[in-house]
C-alpha cells in the first residue's frame, strides 16, 4: 500500500511538472495574448492540482485538509482569472492572431466594442 501510494505520488509529480512546463512554454510560443491565456489558464491550474494531489497522497491529516482547500480554490478561480484577463485584452483592443496568411498584411478588421 505504501509503495503504491509512493509510485502514484511520483507519477502525479511528473505529470504536474509536464503540464506546468507546457503552460510556461505556451506563454513563450503562442502568437497572441488570447492563445497565451488559453494555454496557461488550463495548463497551470491542472499542473498545480496534480502537484497538490501528489502532496495529498503523501501527507497526513493537516496536509490533506490544506491540499483539498488549495486544489478546490485553484479549480474555482483559474477560469475566473482567465476570463478577466481575456476581457481586459479584448477591451483594450489587443491585436488578434488571424493565421499565417493574414499576418503579412495586418488589415485591422477586428471589430471591438470601442
Amino acid at each position: 500500500m505504501e509503495a503504491v501510494l509512493s509510485v502514484a505520488a511520483g507519477a502525479l509529480v511528473v505529470f504536474g511538472l509536464l503540464v506546468l512546463t507546457i503552460a510556461v512554454v505556451g506563454i513563450y510560443r503562442m502568437p497572441d495574448v488570447y492563445t497565451e491565456i488559453q494555454a496557461t489558464a488550463k495548463g497551470a491550474a491542472l499542473g498545480i492540482v496534480a502537484l497538490v494531489l501528489a502532496a495529498l497522497l503523501a501527507g497526513d491529516g493537516p496536509v490533506i485538509a490544506r491540499a483539498i482547500l488549495i486544489a478546490a480554490f485553484l479549480l474555482i478561480t483559474a477560469p475566473l482569472a482567465a476570463h478577466a484577463l481575456a476581457r481586459a485584452a479584448y477591451l483594450s483592443e489587443e491585436p488578434m492572431y488571424r493565421g499565417e496568411d493574414e499576418e503579412a498584411s495586418p488589415s485591422g478588421s477586428r471589430t471591438g466594442p470601442g
Binding site: 509529480v13 498545480i48 502532496a55 501527507g59 485553484l74 482569472a81 478577466a84 481586459a88
Partner: protein, 88 residues
C-alpha cells in the same frame, strides 16, 4: 522519491525563472499580468512540493494565501487595465 522531488524542485525554479523573464519582456500589459499570474501559480507548486518533501504542513498555509492574493491581484489588475476602474 526524494531524488524525484529534488529534481522537481530544481525544474520548478527553472520554470519560475522563465516566467520572470517573460514578465520583464512581455509584449503588452495583459501579457505581463498573465505572466505574473503564471509565476504565482508556479510558486504555489514549489511551496506544495517543498511541503511534501519536508513532511510539514505550514508551507501549504503560505501556498493557500498566495493563491488567494494572486487571484485577487490578477482580477484587480485585469479589471483596472481593461475598463479603467475597479468596480461598477
Amino acid at each position: 522519491m526524494d531524488t524525484l522531488i529534488d529534481i522537481a524542485l530544481v525544474w520548478l525554479v527553472v520554470l519560475l525563472g522563465a516566467c520572470a523573464v517573460r514578465v520583464v519582456g512581455a509584449r503588452s500589459t495583459v501579457a505581463r499580468i498573465l505572466a505574473l499570474d503564471t509565476l504565482v501559480l508556479v510558486l504555489i507548486g514549489l511551496l506544495v512540493l517543498y511541503s511534501a518533501s519536508r513532511g510539514v504542513s505550514y508551507f501549504l498555509d503560505a501556498a493557500l494565501i498566495l493563491a488567494i492574493l494572486g487571484f485577487v491581484a490578477t482580477l484587480a489588475a485585469a479589471r483596472y487595465y481593461g475598463r479603467g476602474r475597479l468596480f461598477g
